[in-house]
Protein backbone atom coordinates (compact mmCIF):
# COMPACT_ATOMS: atom_id res chain seq x y z
CA UNK A 1 0.00 0.00 0.00
CA UNK A 2 1.48 3.38 -0.94
CA UNK A 3 -1.33 5.04 0.92
CA UNK A 4 0.10 5.57 4.40
CA UNK A 5 -0.85 8.46 6.69
CA UNK A 6 0.42 9.20 10.15
CA UNK A 7 -0.97 10.84 13.30
CA UNK A 8 0.20 11.33 16.87
CA UNK A 9 -3.04 9.92 18.21
CA UNK A 10 -5.57 7.83 16.29
CA UNK A 11 -8.94 7.47 18.01
CA UNK A 12 -11.06 4.49 17.00
CA UNK A 13 -14.69 5.62 17.20
CA UNK A 14 -16.37 9.05 17.13
CA UNK A 15 -18.98 8.48 19.83
CA UNK A 16 -19.04 10.16 23.23
CA UNK A 17 -15.79 8.51 24.37
CA UNK A 18 -13.85 9.23 21.19
CA UNK A 19 -14.99 12.85 21.06
CA UNK A 20 -14.13 13.61 24.70
CA UNK A 21 -10.76 11.86 24.34
CA UNK A 22 -9.95 13.90 21.22
CA UNK A 23 -10.87 17.21 22.86
CA UNK A 24 -8.74 16.42 25.93
CA UNK A 25 -5.76 15.27 23.84
CA UNK A 26 -5.88 18.45 21.79
CA UNK A 27 -6.15 20.64 24.88
CA UNK A 28 -3.09 18.82 26.22
CA UNK A 29 -0.97 19.94 23.33
CA UNK A 30 -1.35 17.28 20.64
CA UNK A 31 -2.28 18.64 17.20
CA UNK A 32 -2.08 15.64 14.93
CA UNK A 33 -5.18 13.72 16.01
CA UNK A 34 -7.39 11.60 13.73
CA UNK A 35 -10.80 10.19 14.66
CA UNK A 36 -12.05 7.25 12.59
CA UNK A 37 -15.85 6.76 12.69
CA UNK A 38 -17.81 4.10 10.85
CA UNK A 39 -21.21 5.84 10.91
CA UNK A 40 -22.28 8.75 8.66
CA UNK A 41 -21.97 11.30 11.48
CA UNK A 42 -20.11 11.88 14.74
CA UNK A 43 -21.87 11.35 18.06
CA UNK A 44 -22.31 7.58 18.14
CA UNK A 45 -25.19 6.17 20.13
CA UNK A 46 -26.15 9.66 21.42
CA UNK A 47 -27.75 10.37 18.04
CA UNK A 48 -30.48 7.83 18.68
CA UNK A 49 -30.86 8.64 22.40
CA UNK A 50 -33.32 11.48 21.85
CA UNK A 51 -34.56 11.40 25.46
CA UNK A 52 -33.39 13.91 28.05
CA UNK A 53 -31.28 13.34 31.13
CA UNK A 54 -27.76 13.74 29.76
CA UNK A 55 -25.16 16.21 30.91
CA UNK A 56 -26.21 17.12 34.45
CA UNK A 57 -22.68 16.38 35.68
CA UNK A 58 -20.76 17.71 32.68
CA UNK A 59 -22.76 20.80 31.69
CA UNK A 60 -24.95 21.33 34.79
CA UNK A 61 -28.06 21.22 32.62
CA UNK A 62 -30.33 18.51 31.34
CA UNK A 63 -29.79 17.77 27.65
CA UNK A 64 -31.01 15.21 25.14
CA UNK A 65 -28.49 12.83 23.56
CA UNK A 66 -28.12 14.73 20.27
CA UNK A 67 -27.68 18.01 22.17
CA UNK A 68 -24.99 16.46 24.37
CA UNK A 69 -23.21 15.14 21.27
CA UNK A 70 -23.50 18.54 19.58
CA UNK A 71 -21.61 20.20 22.45
CA UNK A 72 -18.64 17.91 21.83
CA UNK A 73 -18.92 17.96 18.03
CA UNK A 74 -18.84 21.77 18.29
CA UNK A 75 -15.54 21.54 20.18
CA UNK A 76 -14.11 19.10 17.61
CA UNK A 77 -14.87 21.60 14.84
CA UNK A 78 -13.62 24.58 16.84
CA UNK A 79 -10.38 22.83 17.73
CA UNK A 80 -9.93 21.72 14.11
CA UNK A 81 -9.59 18.06 15.00
CA UNK A 82 -9.50 15.82 11.92
CA UNK A 83 -12.00 13.01 11.49
CA UNK A 84 -13.09 10.58 8.79
CA UNK A 85 -16.71 9.37 8.59
CA UNK A 86 -18.09 6.22 6.94
CA UNK A 87 -14.70 4.73 7.70
CA UNK A 88 -14.31 1.20 8.99
CA UNK A 89 -11.20 0.20 10.88
CA UNK A 90 -10.24 -3.31 9.79
CA UNK A 91 -7.16 -3.97 11.87
CA UNK A 92 -4.70 -2.43 14.31
CA UNK A 93 -1.23 -3.95 14.48
CA UNK A 94 0.76 -4.29 17.69
CA UNK A 95 3.10 -1.52 16.54
CA UNK A 96 0.07 0.76 16.08
CA UNK A 97 -0.52 0.78 12.35
CA UNK A 98 -4.26 1.22 11.82
CA UNK A 99 -5.73 -0.28 8.64
CA UNK A 100 -9.03 1.28 7.62
CA UNK A 101 -11.23 1.69 4.55
CA UNK A 102 -13.92 3.93 3.14
CA UNK A 103 -15.60 4.53 -0.22
CA UNK A 104 -13.51 7.56 -1.21
CA UNK A 105 -10.01 6.46 -0.23
CA UNK A 106 -10.31 2.70 -0.41
CA UNK A 107 -7.97 0.81 1.88
CA UNK A 108 -5.40 2.91 3.75
CA UNK A 109 -3.05 2.77 6.72
CA UNK A 110 -2.40 5.26 9.50
CA UNK A 111 0.78 5.01 11.55
CA UNK A 112 -0.16 6.11 15.07
CA UNK A 113 1.99 7.38 17.92
CA UNK A 114 -0.74 6.36 20.34
CA UNK A 115 -4.11 4.68 19.86
CA UNK A 116 -7.26 5.34 21.89
CA UNK A 117 -9.79 2.52 21.70
CA UNK A 118 -13.29 4.05 21.86
CA UNK A 119 -15.42 1.58 19.87
CA UNK A 120 -18.25 1.38 22.38
CA UNK A 121 -20.34 -1.74 22.84
CA UNK A 122 -22.89 -3.99 21.15
CA UNK A 123 -26.17 -5.40 22.32
CA UNK A 124 -26.38 -9.03 23.36
CA UNK A 125 -28.35 -10.74 20.58
CA UNK A 126 -31.13 -13.33 20.71
CA UNK A 127 -28.66 -16.04 19.77
CA UNK A 128 -26.96 -15.60 23.14
CA UNK A 129 -30.16 -16.28 25.08
CA UNK A 130 -31.28 -19.81 24.23
CA UNK A 131 -34.93 -18.82 23.78
CA UNK A 132 -36.75 -21.78 22.25
CA UNK A 133 -39.25 -21.42 19.42
CA UNK A 134 -39.26 -20.23 15.82
CA UNK A 135 -37.24 -17.37 14.37
CA UNK A 136 -39.87 -15.12 12.84
CA UNK A 137 -39.54 -11.46 11.86
CA UNK A 138 -40.41 -9.01 14.63
CA UNK A 139 -37.65 -9.75 17.13
CA UNK A 140 -35.28 -6.82 17.55
CA UNK A 141 -32.65 -5.72 19.97
CA UNK A 142 -33.96 -2.63 21.78
CA UNK A 143 -31.20 -0.45 20.36
CA UNK A 144 -32.01 -1.50 16.80
CA UNK A 145 -35.64 -0.54 17.38
CA UNK A 146 -34.45 2.75 18.87
CA UNK A 147 -32.46 3.54 15.74
CA UNK A 148 -35.38 2.55 13.48
CA UNK A 149 -37.86 4.76 15.35
CA UNK A 150 -35.68 7.76 16.18
CA UNK A 151 -33.38 8.03 13.19
CA UNK A 152 -34.95 6.18 10.28
CA UNK A 153 -38.57 6.99 11.11
CA UNK A 154 -40.01 3.46 11.15
CA UNK A 155 -42.17 1.90 13.87
CA UNK A 156 -41.14 -1.78 14.06
CA UNK A 157 -44.51 -3.01 15.37
CA UNK A 158 -47.80 -2.30 17.14
CA UNK A 159 -48.05 -4.80 19.99
CA UNK A 160 -44.84 -5.11 21.94
CA UNK A 161 -43.31 -7.26 24.66
CA UNK A 162 -39.89 -6.32 26.01
CA UNK A 163 -37.51 -8.88 27.49
CA UNK A 164 -34.91 -7.39 29.81
CA UNK A 165 -35.16 -4.24 31.85
CA UNK A 166 -31.93 -2.59 30.77
CA UNK A 167 -32.15 1.15 30.23
CA UNK A 168 -32.59 0.94 26.47
CA UNK A 169 -35.51 -1.45 26.94
CA UNK A 170 -37.18 0.87 29.45
CA UNK A 171 -36.61 3.93 27.26
CA UNK A 172 -38.05 2.05 24.27
CA UNK A 173 -41.13 1.00 26.25
CA UNK A 174 -41.99 4.68 26.60
CA UNK A 175 -40.90 5.62 23.09
CA UNK A 176 -42.99 2.89 21.40
CA UNK A 177 -45.97 3.89 23.58
CA UNK A 178 -45.66 7.53 22.52
CA UNK A 179 -45.51 6.44 18.87
CA UNK A 180 -48.81 4.62 19.25
CA UNK A 181 -47.73 1.04 19.97
CA UNK A 182 -49.13 -0.98 22.88
CA UNK A 183 -46.37 -2.19 25.19
CA UNK A 184 -47.91 -5.08 27.08
CA UNK A 185 -45.21 -6.04 29.55
CA UNK A 186 -41.52 -5.79 30.38
CA UNK A 187 -40.10 -9.08 31.67
CA UNK A 188 -36.84 -9.35 33.61
CA UNK A 189 -35.06 -12.62 34.39
CA UNK A 190 -33.38 -11.26 37.52
CA UNK A 191 -35.26 -10.38 40.72
CA UNK A 192 -34.18 -6.73 40.22
CA UNK A 193 -34.13 -4.38 37.25
CA UNK A 194 -30.95 -3.86 35.27
CA UNK A 195 -31.92 -0.28 34.51
CA UNK A 196 -31.83 3.01 36.34
CA UNK A 197 -34.59 3.61 38.90
CA UNK A 198 -35.60 6.87 37.27
CA UNK A 199 -36.33 5.04 34.03
CA UNK A 200 -38.68 2.61 35.77
CA UNK A 201 -40.61 5.59 37.16
CA UNK A 202 -40.80 7.74 34.05
CA UNK A 203 -40.89 5.06 31.33
CA UNK A 204 -43.00 2.28 32.87
CA UNK A 205 -44.95 3.64 35.87
CA UNK A 206 -46.00 6.81 34.00
CA UNK A 207 -47.64 4.70 31.29
CA UNK A 208 -48.93 1.84 33.41
CA UNK A 209 -46.61 -0.72 31.78
CA UNK A 210 -46.14 -3.73 34.08
CA UNK A 211 -42.63 -4.91 35.00
CA UNK A 212 -42.47 -8.62 35.77
CA UNK A 213 -39.31 -9.47 37.70
CA UNK A 214 -38.02 -13.08 37.78
CA UNK A 215 -39.77 -13.80 34.47
CA UNK A 216 -38.48 -14.85 31.08
CA UNK A 217 -39.65 -15.79 27.60
CA UNK A 218 -40.00 -19.57 27.28
CA UNK A 219 -41.63 -19.82 23.86
CA UNK A 220 -41.92 -17.82 20.67
CA UNK A 221 -44.96 -18.33 18.43
CA UNK A 222 -45.17 -17.39 14.76
CA UNK A 223 -43.33 -18.61 11.67
CA UNK A 224 -43.11 -15.66 9.27
CA UNK A 225 -44.03 -12.89 11.70
CA UNK A 226 -44.05 -13.02 15.46
CA UNK A 227 -47.56 -13.85 16.78
CA UNK A 228 -46.93 -14.03 20.49
CA UNK A 229 -44.65 -15.15 23.27
CA UNK A 230 -45.03 -17.18 26.45
CA UNK A 231 -43.67 -15.80 29.71
CA UNK A 232 -42.95 -17.91 32.77
CA UNK A 233 -41.74 -17.15 36.23
CA UNK A 234 -38.25 -18.42 37.09
CA UNK A 235 -36.88 -19.86 40.31
CA UNK A 236 -33.80 -18.68 42.20
CA UNK A 237 -31.51 -20.35 39.66
CA UNK A 238 -33.23 -18.84 36.64
CA UNK A 239 -35.13 -22.01 35.66
CA UNK A 240 -38.76 -21.58 34.50
CA UNK A 241 -41.33 -22.80 37.04
CA UNK A 242 -43.85 -25.20 35.39
CA UNK A 243 -47.43 -23.99 35.60
CA UNK A 244 -46.58 -20.27 35.60
CA UNK A 245 -46.68 -19.90 31.80
CA UNK A 246 -48.71 -17.01 30.42
CA UNK A 247 -49.26 -16.22 26.72
CA UNK A 248 -49.05 -12.69 25.34
CA UNK A 249 -50.04 -11.96 21.75
CA UNK A 250 -47.63 -9.49 20.14
CA UNK A 251 -46.01 -8.71 16.78
CA UNK A 252 -42.78 -7.38 18.24
CA UNK A 253 -40.33 -8.59 20.87
CA UNK A 254 -37.58 -6.21 21.94
CA UNK A 255 -34.51 -7.58 23.69
CA UNK A 256 -32.72 -5.42 26.22
CA UNK A 257 -30.56 -8.06 27.79
CA UNK A 258 -27.14 -6.55 28.20
CA UNK A 259 -24.33 -4.83 26.38
CA UNK A 260 -20.95 -6.26 25.48
CA UNK A 261 -17.87 -4.10 24.83
CA UNK A 262 -16.84 -4.40 21.20
CA UNK A 263 -13.27 -5.59 21.40
CA UNK A 264 -12.61 -7.55 18.20
CA UNK A 265 -9.99 -4.98 17.14
CA UNK A 266 -8.43 -4.88 20.60
CA UNK A 267 -8.19 -8.66 20.82
CA UNK A 268 -6.78 -8.78 17.29
CA UNK A 269 -3.87 -6.56 18.26
CA UNK A 270 -3.11 -8.52 21.42
CA UNK A 271 -4.78 -6.33 24.04
CA UNK A 272 -5.46 -8.39 27.17
CA UNK A 273 -9.16 -8.50 28.12
CA UNK A 274 -10.83 -8.91 31.50
CA UNK A 275 -13.38 -11.77 31.27
CA UNK A 276 -15.74 -9.99 33.69
CA UNK A 277 -16.01 -6.70 31.79
CA UNK A 278 -15.10 -8.09 28.33
CA UNK A 279 -13.03 -4.90 28.10
CA UNK A 280 -9.27 -4.32 28.17
CA UNK A 281 -7.31 -4.59 31.41
CA UNK A 282 -5.96 -1.10 32.08
CA UNK A 283 -3.67 0.68 34.52
CA UNK A 284 -4.25 4.06 36.22
CA UNK A 285 -3.61 5.85 32.90
CA UNK A 286 -6.31 3.71 31.20
CA UNK A 287 -3.45 2.22 29.20
CA UNK A 288 -3.73 -1.41 28.12
CA UNK A 289 -0.98 -4.03 28.30
CA UNK A 290 0.30 -2.60 25.00
CA UNK A 291 2.24 0.59 25.63
CA UNK A 292 0.60 3.64 24.04
CA UNK A 293 -2.77 1.93 23.53
CA UNK A 294 -5.49 3.40 25.74
CA UNK A 295 -9.18 2.51 26.19
CA UNK A 296 -12.17 4.47 27.45
CA UNK A 297 -15.96 4.49 27.46
CA UNK A 298 -18.13 1.45 26.79
CA UNK A 299 -15.36 -0.48 25.04
CA UNK A 300 -13.57 -0.53 28.42
CA UNK A 301 -16.61 -1.36 30.56
CA UNK A 302 -20.29 -0.64 29.99
CA UNK A 303 -21.39 2.62 31.62
CA UNK A 304 -24.86 3.84 32.67
CA UNK A 305 -24.06 7.51 32.34
CA UNK A 306 -22.53 9.33 29.40
CA UNK A 307 -21.19 11.99 31.76
CA UNK A 308 -18.87 9.42 33.29
CA UNK A 309 -17.87 8.21 29.81
CA UNK A 310 -16.82 11.75 28.93
CA UNK A 311 -14.89 12.09 32.18
CA UNK A 312 -13.10 8.77 31.71
CA UNK A 313 -12.39 9.48 28.04
CA UNK A 314 -10.95 12.90 28.86
CA UNK A 315 -8.52 11.15 31.21
CA UNK A 316 -7.56 8.71 28.44
CA UNK A 317 -7.03 11.62 26.02
CA UNK A 318 -4.88 13.49 28.50
CA UNK A 319 -2.82 10.39 29.30
CA UNK A 320 -2.36 9.56 25.61
CA UNK A 321 -1.15 13.12 25.04
CA UNK A 322 1.37 12.77 27.87
CA UNK A 323 2.52 9.46 26.38
CA UNK A 324 3.06 11.00 22.95
CA UNK A 325 5.00 13.93 24.43
CA UNK A 326 7.16 11.63 26.53
CA UNK A 327 7.81 9.31 23.61
CA UNK A 328 9.01 12.29 21.57
CA UNK A 329 11.30 13.55 24.32
CA UNK A 330 12.81 10.27 25.38
CA UNK A 331 13.12 6.81 24.03
CA UNK A 332 13.60 5.39 27.53
CA UNK A 333 10.01 5.15 28.64
CA UNK A 334 10.01 1.38 28.83
CA UNK A 335 12.75 1.52 31.46
CA UNK A 336 10.84 4.13 33.44
CA UNK A 337 7.72 1.98 33.44
CA UNK A 338 9.56 -1.06 34.73
CA UNK A 339 11.14 0.86 37.60
CA UNK A 340 7.79 1.75 39.23
CA UNK A 341 5.97 -1.12 40.87
CA UNK A 342 2.24 -1.27 40.25
CA UNK A 343 -0.28 -1.96 43.00
CA UNK A 344 -2.92 -4.53 42.10
CA UNK A 345 -6.60 -3.74 42.63
CA UNK A 346 -8.54 -6.83 43.64
CA UNK A 347 -12.21 -7.43 44.32
CA UNK A 348 -13.73 -8.84 47.51
CA UNK A 349 -17.27 -9.78 48.48
CA UNK A 350 -19.94 -8.24 46.29
CA UNK A 351 -17.65 -6.46 43.84
CA UNK A 352 -17.41 -7.85 40.29
CA UNK A 353 -14.55 -5.82 38.84
CA UNK A 354 -12.63 -2.57 39.08
CA UNK A 355 -11.38 -0.19 36.40
CA UNK A 356 -8.41 0.31 36.52
CA UNK A 357 -6.91 -2.99 37.65
CA UNK A 358 -3.48 -1.63 38.61
CA UNK A 359 -2.29 1.70 40.00
CA UNK A 360 1.21 3.08 40.05
CA UNK A 361 1.52 5.63 42.86
CA UNK A 362 4.40 7.46 41.18
CA UNK A 363 2.55 7.98 37.93
CA UNK A 364 -0.99 8.57 39.18
CA UNK A 365 -2.64 12.01 39.43
CA UNK A 366 -3.49 13.48 42.83
CA UNK A 367 -6.88 11.79 42.61
CA UNK A 368 -7.71 8.50 40.98
CA UNK A 369 -11.30 7.43 40.36
CA UNK A 370 -11.81 3.68 40.57
CA UNK A 371 -15.10 2.54 39.04
CA UNK A 372 -16.74 -0.79 39.78
CA UNK A 373 -19.97 -2.75 39.73
CA UNK A 374 -21.50 -4.94 42.39
CA UNK A 375 -22.84 -8.44 41.79
CA UNK A 376 -26.14 -8.15 43.65
CA UNK A 377 -28.44 -5.75 45.49
CA UNK A 378 -27.11 -4.77 48.94
CA UNK A 379 -28.98 -2.49 51.35
CA UNK A 380 -27.46 -0.41 54.16
CA UNK A 381 -23.95 -1.60 53.41
CA UNK A 382 -20.44 -0.21 53.35
CA UNK A 383 -18.11 0.12 50.38
CA UNK A 384 -14.77 -0.67 52.01
CA UNK A 385 -11.20 -0.29 50.79
CA UNK A 386 -8.37 -2.39 52.23
CA UNK A 387 -4.62 -1.75 51.75
CA UNK A 388 -2.84 -5.11 52.20
CA UNK A 389 -5.54 -6.34 54.58
CA UNK A 390 -5.88 -3.08 56.55
CA UNK A 391 -9.16 -1.21 56.14
CA UNK A 392 -8.37 2.38 55.20
CA UNK A 393 -11.85 3.65 54.34
CA UNK A 394 -15.47 2.69 54.29
CA UNK A 395 -18.47 4.58 53.02
CA UNK A 396 -22.07 3.90 53.97
CA UNK A 397 -24.50 3.27 51.10
CA UNK A 398 -28.29 3.03 51.44
CA UNK A 399 -28.38 0.71 48.44
CA UNK A 400 -26.06 -0.58 45.74
CA UNK A 401 -27.27 -2.54 42.72
CA UNK A 402 -25.70 -4.16 39.63
CA UNK A 403 -27.49 -1.69 37.36
CA UNK A 404 -25.70 1.33 38.79
CA UNK A 405 -21.95 1.82 38.57
CA UNK A 406 -20.18 2.78 41.79
CA UNK A 407 -16.90 4.55 42.36
CA UNK A 408 -14.29 5.18 45.02
CA UNK A 409 -11.61 7.85 45.04
CA UNK A 410 -7.98 7.09 45.90
CA UNK A 411 -5.43 9.83 46.48
CA UNK A 412 -1.74 9.88 45.70
CA UNK A 413 -1.10 10.89 49.31
CA UNK A 414 -2.84 7.74 50.59
CA UNK A 415 -0.75 5.49 48.35
CA UNK A 416 2.50 7.29 49.15
CA UNK A 417 1.93 6.55 52.84
CA UNK A 418 2.14 2.84 52.03
CA UNK A 419 5.40 2.51 50.06
CA UNK A 420 5.41 -1.31 50.15
CA UNK A 421 1.74 -1.66 49.21
CA UNK A 422 1.00 -4.70 47.04
CA UNK A 423 -2.78 -4.95 46.92
CA UNK A 424 -5.83 -2.72 47.20
CA UNK A 425 -9.02 -4.67 47.82
CA UNK A 426 -12.52 -3.25 47.29
CA UNK A 427 -15.46 -5.05 48.88
CA UNK A 428 -19.00 -4.66 50.14
CA UNK A 429 -19.52 -5.17 53.89
CA UNK A 430 -22.71 -5.55 55.87
CA UNK A 431 -23.52 -2.64 58.16
Amino acid sequence: MNNQLSADIVIIGGGPAGLAAAVAAKKNGIDRILILERDRELGGILNQCIHNGFGLHTFKEELTGPEYAARFIGQILELNIAYKLNTMVMDISRDKVVTAMNREEGLFEVRAGAVILAMGCRERPRGALNIPGFRPAGIFSAGTAQRLVNMEGYLPGREVVILGSGDIGLIMARRMTLEGAKVKVVAELMPYSGGLKRNIVQCLDDYGIPLKLSHTVVDIKGKERLEGITLAEVDGRGKPIPGTEEFYSCDTLLLSVGLIPENELSAGMGVELNPVTSGPRVNESLETNIEGVFACGNVLHVHDLVDFVSEEAAAAGKNAAAYVRAAKETAGRAAERASFPAVRLTVGTGVRYTVPETICAERMDEHQTVRFRVGGVYKNCYVSVYFDGERISRRKKAVVAPGEMEEIMLTKKQLMEYPDLKEINVRIEEA
Partner: protein, 119 residues
Protein backbone atom coordinates in the same frame (compact mmCIF):
# COMPACT_ATOMS: atom_id res chain seq x y z
CA UNK B 1 -48.86 12.58 59.38
CA UNK B 2 -48.59 10.54 56.19
CA UNK B 3 -45.35 9.48 54.45
CA UNK B 4 -44.95 9.05 50.71
CA UNK B 5 -42.01 7.45 48.91
CA UNK B 6 -40.85 8.72 45.56
CA UNK B 7 -37.87 8.17 43.30
CA UNK B 8 -36.40 11.39 41.98
CA UNK B 9 -36.15 11.36 38.19
CA UNK B 10 -34.07 14.49 37.67
CA UNK B 11 -30.83 12.65 37.13
CA UNK B 12 -29.68 9.04 36.95
CA UNK B 13 -28.76 8.90 40.63
CA UNK B 14 -32.45 8.18 41.29
CA UNK B 15 -32.52 9.34 44.92
CA UNK B 16 -35.18 7.70 47.08
CA UNK B 17 -37.25 10.50 48.59
CA UNK B 18 -39.45 10.35 51.65
CA UNK B 19 -42.08 13.06 51.78
CA UNK B 20 -43.96 13.80 54.97
CA UNK B 21 -47.48 15.06 54.25
CA UNK B 22 -50.11 16.61 56.43
CA UNK B 23 -53.26 16.09 54.35
CA UNK B 24 -52.43 17.81 51.07
CA UNK B 25 -49.66 19.91 52.58
CA UNK B 26 -46.03 18.86 52.17
CA UNK B 27 -44.25 19.14 55.49
CA UNK B 28 -40.75 17.91 54.61
CA UNK B 29 -38.71 16.14 51.93
CA UNK B 30 -35.84 13.83 52.89
CA UNK B 31 -33.46 11.54 51.02
CA UNK B 32 -32.55 13.97 48.26
CA UNK B 33 -28.88 14.74 47.58
CA UNK B 34 -29.51 18.05 45.83
CA UNK B 35 -31.98 20.90 45.56
CA UNK B 36 -33.62 19.38 42.48
CA UNK B 37 -34.93 16.48 44.56
CA UNK B 38 -36.83 18.77 46.90
CA UNK B 39 -38.39 20.68 44.00
CA UNK B 40 -39.24 17.43 42.21
CA UNK B 41 -41.00 15.91 45.24
CA UNK B 42 -43.11 19.01 45.83
CA UNK B 43 -44.07 19.19 42.16
CA UNK B 44 -44.64 15.45 41.69
CA UNK B 45 -47.21 15.38 44.48
CA UNK B 46 -49.06 18.52 43.43
CA UNK B 47 -48.57 19.07 39.69
CA UNK B 48 -46.41 16.34 38.08
CA UNK B 49 -44.62 17.44 34.91
CA UNK B 50 -42.35 15.87 32.31
CA UNK B 51 -40.05 16.96 29.49
CA UNK B 52 -41.37 15.29 26.34
CA UNK B 53 -39.01 14.16 23.56
CA UNK B 54 -39.93 12.85 20.13
CA UNK B 55 -38.94 13.06 16.48
CA UNK B 56 -40.30 14.94 13.46
CA UNK B 57 -39.85 14.22 9.77
CA UNK B 58 -37.41 16.36 7.73
CA UNK B 59 -37.58 16.87 3.96
CA UNK B 60 -34.47 17.27 1.81
CA UNK B 61 -31.95 16.95 4.63
CA UNK B 62 -28.95 14.78 5.42
CA UNK B 63 -31.17 12.89 7.89
CA UNK B 64 -34.82 11.90 7.50
CA UNK B 65 -35.76 12.64 11.13
CA UNK B 66 -34.89 15.37 13.60
CA UNK B 67 -35.20 14.95 17.36
CA UNK B 68 -37.25 17.48 19.32
CA UNK B 69 -38.24 18.27 22.93
CA UNK B 70 -40.56 20.48 24.88
CA UNK B 71 -38.54 23.52 25.87
CA UNK B 72 -39.73 23.12 29.46
CA UNK B 73 -41.56 20.40 31.35
CA UNK B 74 -45.28 20.16 30.74
CA UNK B 75 -48.11 18.66 32.85
CA UNK B 76 -47.97 14.86 32.78
CA UNK B 77 -51.57 14.65 31.55
CA UNK B 78 -50.65 16.58 28.38
CA UNK B 79 -47.81 14.30 27.23
CA UNK B 80 -49.77 12.14 24.77
CA UNK B 81 -51.66 15.11 23.34
CA UNK B 82 -48.34 16.88 22.82
CA UNK B 83 -46.85 13.93 20.90
CA UNK B 84 -50.02 13.66 18.80
CA UNK B 85 -49.68 17.32 17.83
CA UNK B 86 -46.28 16.49 16.30
CA UNK B 87 -47.56 13.57 14.24
CA UNK B 88 -48.08 15.39 10.96
CA UNK B 89 -45.37 18.04 11.27
CA UNK B 90 -42.85 17.96 8.40
CA UNK B 91 -39.92 20.35 8.35
CA UNK B 92 -37.82 21.49 5.41
CA UNK B 93 -34.04 21.16 5.94
CA UNK B 94 -31.89 22.69 7.34
CA UNK B 95 -32.92 22.52 10.99
CA UNK B 96 -30.79 23.90 13.82
CA UNK B 97 -30.72 23.04 17.53
CA UNK B 98 -33.14 25.36 19.30
CA UNK B 99 -35.33 26.07 16.24
CA UNK B 100 -38.96 26.30 17.33
CA UNK B 101 -40.91 23.45 15.70
CA UNK B 102 -44.31 24.10 17.24
CA UNK B 103 -45.52 26.89 19.51
CA UNK B 104 -47.84 26.38 22.45
CA UNK B 105 -47.87 22.58 22.21
CA UNK B 106 -51.22 21.06 23.28
CA UNK B 107 -52.24 24.35 24.87
CA UNK B 108 -49.47 24.19 27.47
CA UNK B 109 -47.90 27.49 26.45
CA UNK B 110 -44.62 25.59 26.00
CA UNK B 111 -42.96 25.42 22.59
CA UNK B 112 -41.27 22.42 21.03
CA UNK B 113 -37.70 22.91 19.83
CA UNK B 114 -35.25 20.91 17.70
CA UNK B 115 -32.45 19.10 19.56
CA UNK B 116 -30.30 18.19 16.55
CA UNK B 117 -28.69 19.96 13.62
CA UNK B 118 -29.77 18.58 10.23
CA UNK B 119 -28.10 20.02 7.14
Amino acid sequence: MEEKNLICINCPLGCMLTVAMDGKKIVSVAGNTCRRGDTYARKELTNPTRIVTSTVRVLGGSESMVSVKTKEDIPKGKVLECVRALKDVVLPAPVKIGDVILEDAAGTGVSIVATKNVQ
